[in-house]
């Protein structure tokens, strides 16, 4: 239902665990490089559930295929499991809990 394209292989286990816990199917693919937003857009475009996840070395992003212009969820890569859980819950139609705050942009 959800596709994840990861330029950071280390978060693969966290994302898989979040989807397993919520009982939502996910396919995870790895990319050699790419920014989280770009990867998430590509993932969303090909996901049956129209939800895509992209992650690079610093950030994890969820994009909705129907609103690809911007990140629907965005957080530091350390919060990968929480973000993935929310992405799974969008599909499962359950409330999103413990939403991580988006990373603070340097001014």
């Amino acid at each position: 239902m959800v596709h994840a394209l990861l330029a950071d292989p280390d978060v693969s286990r966290s994302i898989a665990a979040a989807f397993e816990e919520e009982g939502v199917p996910v396919t995870i693919a790895h990319e050699a490089e790419g920014e989280a937003l770009t990867l998430a857009r590509r993932a969303a475009a090909s996901a049956p559930g129209l939800v895509g996840i992209g992650a690079d070395g610093t950030t994890i992003i969820v994009v909705l295929a129907a609103a690809p212009g911007r990140a629907y969820l965005e957080a530091d890569i350390a919060d990968a499991r929480a973000v993935a859980r929310s992405a799974a819950r969008i599909i499962a139609r359950r409330p999103l809990v413990d939403l991580p705050r988006p990373p603070v942009e340097a001014s």
Partner: protein, 522 residues
Amino acid sequence: MLVAGVDVGNSTTEVAFARLEPGREPTFLLVVRAETTGAKGSAASAVGARALLERGARRIGEMPRRILLAELHPVETDLVEERHEHDLALGRTAIARPGSTTPGGAGCAVGTLRALAELAGEPRDTTIAVTWDADFDHVGEQLRAARERGWAITGVIVASDDGVLIANRFDRTIPVVDEVADASGLPLGARAAIEVAPAGDTVVELSDPLRIAVLLGLDPAEARSARDAARALAGERSAIVVLRATPPAATRTESAATSAPDDALDVFRVPLPAPRDDATLHLRMRQRTVTGVATLRAIAADDLAGLLGAEVVGPEWLAATLGAATTPGAGSTPFVLDLGGGTVDAHRDGSAVALAGAGTLVTRICGGLLNAPPLVAERAKRLRTARVETPFVLHHEDATRTFLTAPSPPETVGRLCLVEPGGLVPLRAAIAPEVWGALRRDAKRLVLGANARRAIERIGGAPAGELVVLAGGCASDPEVVAAVSAALADLDLAVARADVLGVHGPRAAVAVGLVRAFAGRR
């Protein structure tokens, strides 16, 4: 001559400004409104009324020469929630609490609570393993190893949101209750029962006091005292009950019912409404009772008149009926039901009654049902709700769906939300929109419908076919008008909403009526 009619209500103060000329109907210029400051008729309420007068005068550019008040019979209303769920008497069951909505495994298990680390030792009796280890792979590995060494593990309690992950790595046929944040604080060594229902279902063993008794070895007398524990878990997907090592010294510790003050004029009790088609939710709602108590205060309106430099032009019933009569098409309005914040008042020619329990009580009930603070409850009382099914789909109270052109914010997804003009406001309660809508309307029926009926009866009834006009802030809510109309349906009355001066809706009837009463006297 510029005059101002001032209506100081329990919740709202309204001021109607009008210019009077001999031989002509008053020309109404402005109506202003603000929350009443302090108790109706008190010096504190005069402060707010004075500020409102000055605000209106600034807009008109002139202070009124006469300030008009009704004879006040101030009624103070108080609301008391008689009993909370915290008062549950659990008997020998020390802990009875729901688990998460995404637990792992399935079934019901009984055993002694033991920390996962303890399972490294020699096997002992039937065990429910408790773990606050963050690594689900590690937990699964340890559980498998313990079972191989001979431990009889019937269930698992986990601090983190890893119930499914651990069940998948250990045993999907036993219950794994997760998201028990204080798992490390559970009384290790105590006997416990846990249950996980299949997806979409609710616990059946731990919502039955006799089953709890059998599972935990309680005697028949103790089984009866497990009813609160069972009720607290009804409707949950997963649950835990832990047995106390020794029976509690005290028996049932239910809070005493609040008694009405000796000088109470009227007491109105109403339970939280409960959904008719959801027995488990119904049971839980029935654990709480909300009580409204009204007390007559001995503060004369003349005190207020002195403070404001105002004159009393007549009784409130006269002002209310004269004000409501400005509703287009009404002619005269011999019966007015004023649905306010604290009271439902019935006005008829020559008399009036005030009954405890109105809009504020409905707000309190909505807050109780939704577990929401007063400001949110006040909005929830009036606004429609919708559940955000997906970021783009809203599920409404009438079961229809609408689609959004931009995604709803993440914090609203999967939740019941207030549909505010500025956007969706998520609520904590996990109630379907259809169920909440029915509960909200029930609250209005139980309070305002019932009190409208009582008020008409107390005032001596109204003849069939007579017009009964609804005034006051609550009457601006179409659901309230429907509830009151339904409550009075068998009396064959023409129940209609006031539209004071054809522009103010059901508000400001008394303030406008005061001006009309004064003009009629001149």
